[in-house]
């Protein structure tokens, strides 16, 4: 059963199925709480993220001094730092995903829509790039050109668009055969107009799934780089950087690892569950 053109009922169906998926709904609630916490961070604690409490270096969680998560080795408040680190991690995740989305959708839709030799060449480029160890290139980039956060966005975004391009191309090829696209061609619409008005909107489903699954990947890459000391620089921080700090003092101050690590893991967990839920909701046969 292939159904008609994806219209309102498909999305309503998908929403109904998504809301019935308990894991996905729970994940959405938790993620919303995390985003709220991260946004409201400065108002939740009397401490500044770079403020040093000389009286309390590396103390465990201590409500009396309002260090809810304790302090790090140089006496900075871990609660505030964890939440601000979350801001950076989430921001990198979203922005870099948008970069990869823009490149990937354009590349894939154009290749798939034009087809023929253009498609062959464009996908060959993707194939070649696919086999490249990009993670290491990002590391090289960070080593050679300094630890610039803007560069980080672009670099991560630029390596993540390949999957998107492949998926979008496949979908576009399938869509191209459908009647409403053929009708648009017959009515004399220009190619960019057809891609923009008919192809891209119909890709929304796949793209939505892909985005929710890419954000955690990107957060992971950023954390990885920060963990190696190549990402966000002091006094700013991110979850990866905090995990790195925490791992150094694992025996004396395990809390400095556990708090940021849990936030990172729970966030990734939520994104993955939502992505899975979305995919099941949009493509119910795969359950």
């Amino acid at each position: 059963m292939t159904g008609g053109a994806p219209g309102r009922s498909l999305w309503q169906d998908a929403r109904r199925r998504l809301l019935r998926n308990r894991a996905a709904v729970t994940a959405m609630v938790i993620l919303a709480i995390i985003i709220l916490l991260v946004t409201a961070a400065p108002w939740l604690s009397p401490w500044q993220f770079d403020q040093i409490d000389w009286d309390r270096l590396s103390i465990p969680p201590d409500p009396a001094s309002r260090h809810w998560f304790g302090t790090d080795a140089v006496g900075r408040d871990l609660f505030v730092r964890t939440l601000l680190g979350g801001r950076v991690s989430l921001l990198v995740g979203v922005v870099a995903t948008l970069v990869s989305l823009a490149i990937g959708v354009t590349w894939g839709a154009v290749a798939g829509y034009l087809g023929g030799r253009v498609d062959a060449v464009m996908m060959r480029v993707v194939d070649i790039l696919y086999a490249m160890p990009f993670m290491f290139f990002v590391i090289l980039l960070m080593v050679f050109f300094g630890r610039d956060i803007l560069l980080l966005f672009v670099a991560i975004g630029a390596i993540n668009w390949l999957d998107m391009a492949r998926i979008v191309r496949g979908q576009t090829l399938a869509l191209k055969q459908r009647e409403f696209v053929e009708a648009a061609v017959a009515s004399g619409l220009t190619t960019p107009a057809i891609i923009g008005r008919h192809i891209v909107p119909n890709l929304l489903g796949v793209v939505a799934v892909y985005v929710t699954l890419t954000i955690p990947q990107v957060i992971l890459v950023e954390s990885f780089l920060s963990f190696l000391g190549l990402g966000v620089q002091e006094p700013f921080t991110s979850w990866g950087a905090l995990v790195n700090d925490g791992a150094q003092e694992i025996e004396s101050a395990p809390w400095s690892l556990l708090f940021p690590a849990s936030f990172l893991a729970v966030t990734l967990f939520c994104f993955n569950f939502i992505g899975d839920g979305l995919r099941d909701a949009l493509d119910p046969r795969d359950r």
């Binding site: 790039l129 086999a131 490249m132 160890p133 050679f144 954390s223 025996e251 395990p254 690590a261 795969d286």
Partner: protein, 307 residues
């Protein structure tokens, strides 16, 4: 078959070439020379160093020399460890990393396939939910978080295993790093196997096999497992890359003298030639693995062989 192998090999060459070229120009475009860190050198010494490393030649000449050196397998001297060449450092680190990586890969495939198959056969029942929740956890906990947690639990609290070090690859020193490296992949492979196994079990040829009255275990082992494993085989290429990337942090955390550790130290010390050498080595390794995986795929799928 031979034709297929040759075609695949030729297909890998542009990637390799792109890798080398990108690496070279990135290094040369980087702001500052490799010896900037050593304060201000007298001009004569700077000139001598430049000459020694051929930095005084025009860029195209340097590029050709670099490619020529590579063809002979020479990755140049390390800028940081003055007494060693990059080749020597890689030769020392690689066996350590390879042992770690291969063990992790083997563990990931065996455990991942077993768990994924188990989940698929109990689809939407408790065993399935348990495996999939576990897998989701595995995917959501990166190895640089997992590794310190493992140390905290098994080394610090329980004291069962050493927190780090290599110790001539005693098994006690291998356990935690291998687990840290393998678990995220176990999770990924389990999910992959479950998905493809469920799909294969719905295929018409499985219904035919049932209609022939074959017992369930024959059905799964003989008819379903091989096609269900094809996506896992395709994943081995990216998995290699993941293991190499993961080994960078895992070796760092556990203080294991492998390639990954050289890489991180090289990166932090701006030891350009070392970092470059490791990247090229890793890149070539990944390309090689992808090639092997392609061949393996062709061996497993009779429909590919004759194309």
């Amino acid at each position: 078959m031979l034709y297929y192998a040759l075609k695949r090999l030729l297909g890998a060459l542009p990637t390799l070439f792109l890798l080398l070229t990108l690496a070279f120009f990135m290094m040369r475009l980087a702001p500052g020379g490799p010896f900037d860190s050593e304060k201000s050198l007298p001009p004569e010494i700077q000139a001598n160093l430049d000459r020694k490393y051929h930095l005084d030649e025009p860029l195209p000449a340097q590029y050709l020399r670099y490619l020529g050196d590579l063809l002979r397998g020479d990755l140049g001297p390390s800028f940081q460890y003055q007494d060693y060449t990059v080749n020597e450092l890689i030769a020392a680190g690689f066996p350590v990393s390879a042992r770690l990586g291969l063990l992790a890969m083997a563990l990931a495939v065996v455990l991942g396939v077993a768990l994924g198959t188990l989940a698929a056969l109990h689809q939407n029942r408790p065993a399935d939910h348990a495996v999939m929740t576990l897998a989701m956890t595995g995917i959501s906990i990166p190895n640089f978080v997992l590794a310190p947690l493992l140390i905290l639990l098994f080394a610090v609290h329980l004291g069962w295993l050493p927190a780090g070090g290599w110790n001539g690859s005693r098994w006690q020193n291998l356990v935690l790093p291998v687990i840290a490296l393998a678990l995220p992949l176990v999770a990924y492979i389990a999910r992959l196997t479950r998905g493809s196994m469920i799909e294969v079990l719905r295929a018409p040829f499985i219904r035919t096999a049932r209609a022939k009255g074959l017992p369930e275990h024959t059905l799964i082992l003989r008819h379903a497992l091989k096609p269900a494993l094809l996506p896992v085989v395709s994943f081995l290429g990216p998995a290699t890359a993941a293991i190499l990337t993961g080994s960078v942090v895992v070796e760092q955390i556990f203080g294991i003298p492998g390639l990954g550790r050289h890489f991180v130290q090289g990166a932090l010390n701006r030891d350009y030639t070392l970092v470059m050498g490791v990247v090229i080595f890793y890149g070539a390794l990944i390309i090689l693995f992808n090639f092997i995986v392609d061949l393996l795929y062709a061996v497993l799928d009779p429909r590919v062989r004759y194309r």
